[in-house]
Amino acid sequence: MAVLIDLNKEKADILKFTRPGDYVVFFHNLSGEFTFSLNSTGINVDIFGLYIGARSSDFVIRTKQHHVSSETTSNLLIKGVFYDDSRFNYQGLIRIENNAQKSHAYQKNQNITLSPNVFIESKPYLEILANDVFCTHGSTTGRLDQNQLLYLKSRRIEKEKAQSLLIEGFLGDLLRKVQEKIPQFDYNIKSYHKLAD
């Protein structure tokens, strides 16, 4: 059974994992600097961050997936949707120390921009000092998939509705991933996203 850590409630900025097991960290619209330190063999951490930027919200978030022990896995996914004049500045570091061999680390940041005044800065950093590891990260920033929009419009769904459908699908996908690991998690997108006005 995985353990859920709600970072909005926890208020901790360094999470040191010392017991083997599966952990899930979740946060929403959170700014700050957070370190996830994996200090024992057999630790698996899934980190999920959800961002919805509207009006002039300004998020600055730094995360560090720090692998200190061998055979540890971390997997970070941050998805954001940004409207109006919102700003999002994300720096994510994966650091694998020399004796954290046989570790796997993943990081993905996906951002959808819905206004020309949005500013996104994304810095996915890697510092790898061990060799028997596998590590990958990815970052994509852009608008909604135009093909998908076209498809929905061709089904007589008007632009506004199509857009919000896609956005909810995009964000909902992350929430479902959390719920797969934490059955009691509220993955209803409506709890987080109200249509921007």
Partner: protein, 464 residues
């Protein structure tokens, strides 16, 4: 001893009669800068340019990021040395590893000697002559930068320092004040230069100068491919190389700049390379870093015009005591622009490779697309690999994609190759060459072959 051929010098503008031997002096001040300009008999505007740049150099701070540059002592460096003193002029005086490498990668005797500055410049003279004949028919100019300042002042004045001003960074300022050597290439409208222009075609004993300055201008619709460097290790007694390369790609033009760098392992290689790309222009940097102790190099494209395209393909290999801190910068200023960065790096024996990249999509760069892919191989547990990409996006209707992977050579793949009778070292060499193949195949064939052989050598640990 190696005496410069007086006639030859006169012919190519190296007007330095033997009696005026510049006394090499360590350290840098206004006097030295002015003296350099005087020795070269430069026009006043260039002397002023140098002095101004020196002022900036004094003020500027060292970069507080990147590789460790703390061991550079500006006062211990010779800023102008007669070319013939710089090259090791006896084959036997070369360090053993360098000599062995030449042998192993099969460089013919004559070329070996040429690279060491030992041979008579006769051979290269002949090649240069014939290349130049073809080029001048098309109106293409290809010569030493020093000569261009005197022979083509109008063009040079217009563009020199326009892409990389002295104020850009400390090493650009240094180069701007003490530059010497480098290439000047001018391609007129609509002309496509078929033959790749090679740095060693231009006759200048300062082949491997410390502070080379290159300026390439390609007018509308033109095309040129410039190749610099060589895979054979270049032994340099000086340890600081701060070069500047400026490239102007006009509307619809295309430029490819290929570098294969294999400086000896005592060198700090700090290079500022940038290109300004106008509407429908294409700039391609192919950058290969194998040598030097420290390299900091980020070929850049400023995509100024609609539909401009930039591409950086890079390979970095770090062995013992090396740090390759390299990458790319793509700045999108105009709509419908696109860029692509492919980086392949390998670290071994305690080496460290760092990819450092900047992608900026500015307001107005609507409908731009960017794709960055960085893959790194770490071959043992003493080595290190970093990836530091930075994406700053302030526009919508764009698509920016970045992905990176760090891993070791696959066990299954090594076993597969082993099952075919290939031993471990050779298997690793084969896989590493396969890993860099997407970039290596863009390098002109003769360099690519040598590059493969060099990588195999580095892999087997038989190169110092």
């Amino acid at each position: 001893m190696n005496q410069p051929n007086l006639n030859f010098n006169y012919k190519y503008g190296f007007s330095m009669p033997q009696k005026y031997v510049f006394k090499a002096k360590k350290g840098l001040n206004e006097e030295v800068v002015a003296a350099i300009s005087t020795m070269k008999k430069e026009p006043v505007w260039m002397t002023e340019f140098r002095l101004k740049a020196f002022g900036i150099f004094k003020e500027k701070n060292m970069p507080n990021w990147g590789a460790d540059l703390s061991r550079i002592n500006f006062n211990e460096i010779f800023y102008y040395i007669k070319p013939t003193n710089k090259q090791v002029n006896k084959w036997e005086n070369l360090p053993k590893e360098i000599r062995e490498t030449y042998d192993k990668i099969g460089i013919p005797e004559a070329e070996k000697k040429y690279l060491m500055g030992v041979s008579a410049q006769y051979e290269s003279e002949v090649v240069y002559e014939s290349v130049n004949k073809q080029l001048s028919k098309q109106g293409v100019i290809f010569c030493d930068m020093g000569m261009a300042v005197k022979k083509y002042p109008d063009i040079v004045k217009k563009y020199f320092g326009s892409v990389i001003p002295a104020s850009d960074n400390k090493f650009a300022a240094l180069n701007s004040s003490v530059w010497s050597g480098g290439s000047f290439v001018y391609v007129p409208k609509g002309i496509k230069v078929k033959l790749p222009l090679q740095a060693y075609f231009r006759i200048n004993a300062e082949q491997f100068g410390q502070f080379e300055r290159t300026l390439i201008i390609v007018e509308e619709g033109g095309y040129v491919h410039y190749v610099e460097g060589c895979t054979a290790p270049v032994y340099a007694t000086d340890s600081l190389h701060a070069a500047v390369v400026e490239i102007i790609v006009k509307k619809g033009a295309r430029v490819r700049y290929t570098t294969v760098q294999n400086w000896s392992k005592n060198v700090y290689n700090l290079v500022t390379k940038r290109s300004r790309v106008e509407e429908d222009g294409i700039m391609e940097w192919v950058d290969c870093n194998i040598g030097s102790q420290v390299t900091m190099k980020y070929p850049s494209c400023y995509l100024m015009g609609k539909r401009a395209r930039g591409e950086v393909l890079s390979i970095a290999f770090s062995g013992k005591n090396q740090h390759q801190d390299a990458g790319a910068k793509m700045l999108h200023f105009a709509p419908d622009t696109s860029s692509r960065i492919i980086s392949k790096s390998i670290s071994k024996d305690g080496g460290r490779t760092s990819y450092r990249g900047l992608v900026q999509v500015r307001p107005g760069a609507k409908n731009s697309s960017v794709y960055v892919s960085c893959d790194a191989l770490i071959l043992d547990d003493r080595s290190r690999s970093d990836t530091y990409p930075d994406m700053k996006i302030k526009e919508t209707d764009i698509n920016v994609q970045h992905e990176a992977t760090v891993e070791k050579l696959g066990e299954e793949k090594l076993f597969y190759l082993s099952s075919r009778g290939i031993n471990k070292t050779e298997s690793e060499g084969l896989l590493v060459n396969g890993f860099i193949d997407p970039v290596a195949k863009e390098i002109p064939l003769e360099y690519a072959i040598e590059l493969n052989r060099l990588i195999n050598l580095e892999m087997s640990g038989s190169v110092g």
